[in-house]
């Protein structure tokens, strides 16, 4: 395979020689018939269709349910590479939890002048109702997905934190399952760190954050907006895998000061609710009054320690894109350590000097809305038309504080299998961290998203991205 000029290929490096973590796989691949492997790709697709992993693309009514493409070439990380990511994610997640506690209590970091308080004061992700409120066990972000990219020098950098309801972990699990089914020989006699214990770890981790009112073994439930949600499959999958109830708002009531699920045998109290419903919709008595996806009264029950809500409401202030650029300061402030993983360099358009630079270099930069997600409302300068650039320039000038800008980072590539053989495609990595009181556990690997289109740098599944199985192997 010819690596893409100027990009770091994780299998072939910059020089074209197979890198150490890929050596065993490379040998296996060299002996394989391309035709058999292509047939396997088709087989994988059939498996996914059968298990029902599909994805609703936002803003596309025509293609309501679609399969996320799966590529059979694994993304492989060596143990020492992984150790850096793992420690970096743990450090980051600890710091973000400390930050959230500070934001909703003493606000020392603002008093110390490390972050402008206006970023929080005017931020919709900041929830006043959480002021003075300590979540059970002190955990704000029970599940965090940290989006990591790898630069042209092979250095890992954090692109984004996801502290609200990160999705994608079901793909991590299903991808591994599928690979093991299709290529058992790859797993025989080779130490690839398992990820299959994630649901059990999630369960243990949530149980460890049970509320003071829990009495006996904690009862867990997953709150889903329902079958029309893009990630409904994942909600059902995780509930099933960790032995939790799958509930919608209409299944829940307030009974004796607790949140309880209606069952034919009477109400079943819920101790920990893993909610996949956004803050805004969580409780119509407190947030959006028109929400039918939320549980009225749940915030009141939460206030008195009657339930654990995972992730805690108001955690979005920690993964806000305006806050993102301050995460290195956040890490140093709360841990006293230097960040193990760097941020991608970021211009805050709220600062006049940065705005000037961004406007001047718009066609080279990626501009993001500070509150957006999923690749919406964003400008990829090098790929944008003159008109798009013009329109975005206007937006930036009208509401500069609404945007940040980053260089178009030369995302690393990993080969995918095409009809013409291996071809480099750009990837990112979303490792999943589980937070329990006093412990942050990172599932080895995570979800690798891959831009299936040649030369594309957008890996979001909503924009046609696919996924790969992600391995952590011994050095």
């Amino acid at each position: 395979m010819e690596p893409r000029e100027g990009f770091f290929d994780e299998m072939y490096g910059l020089a074209g020689n197979v890198r150490a973590p890929y050596r065993a796989y490379g040998n296996w691949f060299a002996d394989e018939q391309p035709r058999r492997l292509l047939a396997k790709t088709a087989e994988a697709e059939r498996v996914f269709r059968r298990t029902g992993i599909t994805f609703n693309v936002y803003g596309d009514d025509e293609a309501e349910e679609r399969l996320i493409p799966f590529d059979i070439v694994p993304r492989i990380l060596g143990a020492s590479e992984w150790a850096t990511i793992e420690r970096g994610v743990q450090q980051r997640v600890r710091a973000l939890n400390a930050f959230l506690h500070d934001v909703y209590h003493r606000r020392e970091i603002f008093k110390a002048g490390r972050i402008p308080v206006g970023l929080v004061a005017d931020n919709a992700a900041f929830l006043p109702v959480m002021l003075g409120q300590s979540p059970p066990g002190g955990v704000y972000t029970h599940i965090v997905g940290v989006d990591i990219i790898r630069s042209d020098e092979g250095r890992f950098m954090v692109l984004e934190d996801n502290c609200r309801t990160p999705s994608g972990v079901s793909y991590m699990l299903e991808n591994r399952e599928t690979m093991m089914q299709m290529f058992p020989e790859l797993f025989a006699g080779r130490r690839i760190r398992p990820v299959g214990d994630y649901p059990q770890n999630l369960r243990t981790s949530l149980e460890a954050s049970a509320p003071p009112a829990a009495d006996g073994p904690a009862v867990l439930a997953v709150l889903t907006p329902g079958i029309h949600n893009a990630a409904y499959f994942e909600h059902a999958f995780l509930a099933d895998q960790m032995g939790a109830e799958l509930v919608e708002a209409r299944d829940l009531e307030i009974v004796d000061g607790r949140v309880a699920m209606r069952t034919t045998e009477g109400p079943l109290r819920i101790d920990v609710l893993y909610r996949r419903v956004d803050d805004d919709y969580l409780d119509p008595l407190v947030f959006r009054p028109d929400s039918v996806l939320g549980v009225p009264g749940i915030m009141d029950v939460y206030r008195v320690g009657g339930i654990t809500i995972a992730n805690a409401p108001g955690g979005g202030i920690a993964d806000d894109k305006a806050i993102y650029s301050y995460v290195p300061e956040i890490i140093e402030f709360y841990t006293g350590e230097k960040p193990i993983l760097d941020n991608v360099p970021t211009w805050r358009c709220s600062e006049p000097e940065s705005l000037g630079y961004v406007l001047e270099h718009l066609s080279e930069l990626v501009v993001k809305e500070v509150h957006g997600s999923g690749g919406y409302g964003m400008l990829v300068g090098p790929a944008a038309s003159k008109r798009e650039l013009r329109e975005f320039r206007k937006k930036l000038q009208t509401r500069p504080a609404n945007y940040i800008a980053q260089p178009t980072v030369a995302l690393s590539t990993v080969p995918v299998l095409t009809r013409a053989g291996l071809a480099p495609r750009h990837v990112d990595l979303r490792p999943f961290a589980l937070v329990a009181p006093g412990r942050v556990q990172v599932s080895p690997g995570g979800l690798t998203r891959v831009a299936m289109k040649k030369n594309s740098l957008v890996v979001n599944s909503s924009q046609g991205g696919g996924t790969k199985d992600t391995w952590v192997v011994d050095d």
């Binding site: 005017d122 006043p128 002021l131 409120q133 009974v255 008595l285 009264g297 029950v301």
Partner: protein, 270 residues
Amino acid sequence: MRLSITHTTKYRFDEPVPYGLLELRLCPRSGPTQDVEWWDTQILAGQRQVRFTDHHRNVVELVRVEPGATETIVIATGDVVTTDTAGVIGPDQGANPPWLYERSTKLTAPGPNVRRLARSADRDVADLDVLHGLSAAVRDAIDYVPGITEVDTPADAVLEAASGVCQDHAHVFVAAARVLGFPARYVSGYLFVEGGQEEASHAWAEVSVEGLGWVGFDIANQISPDRRYVCLAVGLDYREAAPISGVRRGAGGETLEVDVSVTEQGSAQQ
């Protein structure tokens, strides 16, 4: 002044209600302007679920309507001894940052009408005079006409309609005060009116003024709250300070009957 208050709220449902909740902010708390001698909230056909003090230091109670009820009644009653402090409540006892009260909400979002009104305020005078001027401007801009606005009419739309009730006056004033950079909040409570003909439920506003702390402004009546006022709850807007809000499942309509009586007790010693 010793005020005796009875606040009765009656919900009548056309069909038995399978599931319903009421959230109450119906328990005044003692402070520099009021001393709550006793207070009691009775609930008929409903059970208390939780009770806590929220971040504005309001006492909040969550009540579940008795399943199958066709009527639920909440009766809050008690005696409050009030003091006239010329509207000055003083610094906050809670731990909230002052900027919390500069945040706008959906009901107090500063649209073009609110901004225009705020801009019209004379700013070359002392803070208190700026606010009194603003209060007068709000009162002038909105005629007291019940039935035009709803509880969820945002401040900007109130100005558009140019009419509303005390709640709307308070929302517009709070929104405009924030535009001018003052932390401001909405207050729900009671107003004693001699003769007792007028509505005794009332809403006004408080603004944090440098050197004084919170100062009350009754925009509807163009005065600062005195001994006739009892504060029930505060918040960024009506939703956070509403004495009762509710949600329910089930078909059929409902009728709401509210009766508030505030009387002066003869033995008042001031």
